[in-house]
Symmetry: C2
Amino acid sequence: MTPRRDTNWWGWGDPAVTAALDDEALAVLRERIGDLEPWPLATGIEDFALPPAEPLPAALSEAVGVENVFTAKEHRLRHATGRGYADLARLRDGRLEAAPDAVVAPPDAAALRRAIEVCAAEGIAVVPFGGGTSVVGGVEPLRGAHPRLISLDLGALREVEVDPRSMTARLGAGLRGPEAEAALGEAGFTLGHFPQSFEYATIGGFAATRSAGQASSGYGRFDALVTALRLCAPAGDLETPETPHSAAGPALRELAIGSEGVLGAIPEVTVRVRPAPAVRRYEAWIAESFEAGGEIVRAMAQGAGLPDVVRVSDEEETRGSLALSGPRGLAGRAFAGYLGARRRRDGALIVIGLEGDEESVARRRALAVRALRAGGAAHLGQAAGRSWEHGRFHGPYLRDTLMGMGALVETLETAHTWSRLGELHAAVGAAIRGALDGQGTPGLVFCHLSHAYPDGASLYFTFIARGRRGAELEQWAAVKRAACEAIVAHGGTITHHHAVGRDHAPYMKAEVGETGLELLRAAKERLDPAGIMNPGKLLP
Amino acid sequence: MTPRRDTNWWGWGDPAVTAALDDEALAVLRERIGDLEPWPLATGIEDFALPPAEPLPAALSEAVGVENVFTAKEHRLRHATGRGYADLARLRDGRLEAAPDAVVAPPDAAALRRAIEVCAAEGIAVVPFGGGTSVVGGVEPLRGAHPRLISLDLGALREVEVDPRSMTARLGAGLRGPEAEAALGEAGFTLGHFPQSFEYATIGGFAATRSAGQASSGYGRFDALVTALRLCAPAGDLETPETPHSAAGPALRELAIGSEGVLGAIPEVTVRVRPAPAVRRYEAWIAESFEAGGEIVRAMAQGAGLPDVVRVSDEEETRGSLALSGPRGLAGRAFAGYLGARRRRDGALIVIGLEGDEESVARRRALAVRALRAGGAAHLGQAAGRSWEHGRFHGPYLRDTLMGMGALVETLETAHTWSRLGELHAAVGAAIRGALDGQGTPGLVFCHLSHAYPDGASLYFTFIARGRRGAELEQWAAVKRAACEAIVAHGGTITHHHAVGRDHAPYMKAEVGETGLELLRAAKERLDPAGIMNPGKLLP
């Protein structure tokens, strides 16, 4: 099957969609980060300079069918990067130093195995490719010691097999989020996994990166949804049992989840599904402060339970994102009304979302409202919540708009226990601000609590600053490094849901220690003795 | 610290406790399994024949302190077996072919590391020992290629450090269940982990065996309670991060949980805790059949949620266990009343337990009652539930009584998805019955659904038959093998919560496949290159 070409090759998603900022938002932005110098695309696909492709052995075409091997420039370019700021910057500038020699798209799991075996025998590096939405360099075509590299596109693996009685479904790795939801919806179910990349990311990618979605506080992170999976490794297939739980030794499933292609490719995943919700209720509240909002979420997580979606913006994000979305918007009006009534200028926006049947949404909402009121939050209404829901997958389009205007826009995330979350929030925010200042480009630094657990929560940072023209990657790397070092210094995880890829690999020793790295290396060497699988990712 | 000697050396738990069967129960038993020939203890500790101990190097005493190395017969004997039927049979007969050369009880984690390093350097096999309650040969002193073997008693590691804000606690591996609960209770918390072995099993053992408890349907299996742990391996310490979740690669924590001592010893575990419940409400219901009871539990698990405890006995267990506990008991009276009212002789006993504050117990009970009534179950009352609660840790004492009378008594467990659970129940029950018949000792075969999940449930089998005097172990092995083969043939897991140990190791290839075994071997070889850690367990 021909790999998909329906997305914007230099940016996010649907080429027909553009995110616009109104005059007021532009004024706020200019005031906070200074004048921007537009950053247009340097070239189209035709003139984009890619390194020449190395020839690949005939055995590879024989393994998957010659019609499933693609060497045209557009395919190579579309599989040469993910969708992080550093990727988009290079695409915008028309320069890539590396690209796959070919895109190989096996039509089924048997062909996938044959392809991996040929690559292992021939010493060809393999980068498994799902939606290509990594923001941490997860699909970067790094060859390691190998002279040749293919992008292994899993897009053709889209089978769906539902077990309605056990409420599980076996899903092909190549299904995008909406494709999986549509197929499950036909059987009356939902997976409930909605990361911001939902519209283009794939089931295999969710598993390989240990993904979390916007509704994961309720439905559970992707790792909690997976009951079994298959990992196609050069040394053989790992197939974990489809029993609800087992005490038969370590959970090997958990070694494949988050393995980011370095142990093998994941052709299929069996997941827990739930009845498709009859009701989705999103609403916004406002707490007196980020700290007060966090305490409300902690009370929910440690008490009567969390809504499906729960997020709390810090004061800076609350002010900033409302300003950028325009004070005339519904959320803006409600917020202004709240601040006027309270005679204050601060507050922390809370969005909660509940999904399910009418009775369960009502019951769980009553519990959530009790916690919100007990924590001093004020109701902003459903309109503001719906406004968030409406724009929930829209952020990456806005990033393209801001980059085109000449801005640096990046996000990063971490997590910690409740007792150390405040410290982590302050430290990482200060590190990002300091690094932006150090680049001579002071910026906006937003944060929200994005997922909650009984023992802690994740923090999601967004920062926007004037791009240093011609030095975008150095500027980005300096700020990213400062943020990562602050995370490590304060004991947070280097990533709560973006995964490791190339960008976080240097911090894995801090995360899992030398013994942890040795365990990962042992697994890699046993399953992939030739070291062909996704070189340069996950392991430092 | 001197290893504990407060338990019955030849059987279960408190030497002052004995379980008695009344005349009616004895009559039922005789009718069903035939006349029994009493099986007295062959000897006391003094005359128990153990193989001589190999001398150990001075470096070991220097590593942990000479006062922490024990070579007296009683200590060696107490660390030579677990508490499975095969263990108790050998103790009863006064014959053990293997015992540790010494019991080494490091006073702290640093001494534990030194002990393991000395053993790695000297090629001494190490069997980590917590509560010694394994029923699958998990602490069997198998030397592998090593001429010497120690039992590494973790009983001195009992530190408790509570983080009340994050609701987590770092617990030393050597804490028994009640010790951990007492320490947590002082801070207002509970761990909520109550396997039948609760009173004597330890925190480290729960982690090493991927334990599940009677209330795990609500509180979560032990693997779901663990947020972080330390694994002390010959090659180094693995310390997993204490963040609530992470996407930084595979979850290495899940490789240590269930590792059963073959990768290293676990000195401490960080777990999620909950507020100590103000209310514990246990009650019994009766469904028309085991199938109907299972459907009720499935509706709960896939709908509004499970009680903390939920178990459904099949018709045979319902009849049999009520008969054995005496029809004059509260449960027996309620059951008889139910059967009379319905004019039937069958039914499936359901026990549910709810724990928490008054409001949440009431709210969750209302949801449970709705599912029970919708599924056609009839209420038997709280007295019958309390009767189960009262005897919840009593089973192993009853086993000693039955063994003393000359009976074979064993339990085993598995799990599967809802769509294949009925098939598994029938097949395993038939295999056990058939194998008992084949031994010329037809028996009682009980089963209950013991833990439930949205996608499936576990089945817990108990069987009682006349022991074949002088051939107890052969008889036991034949029945166990038949049950395991039926489990494997029907795709169940070889163990839902008893772990692998020695007894289930031959079935690990069916469980995780050759690639799965290779992954486990790779981890073992990297962390324990000398192969000293718990030889002969987990891996076939």
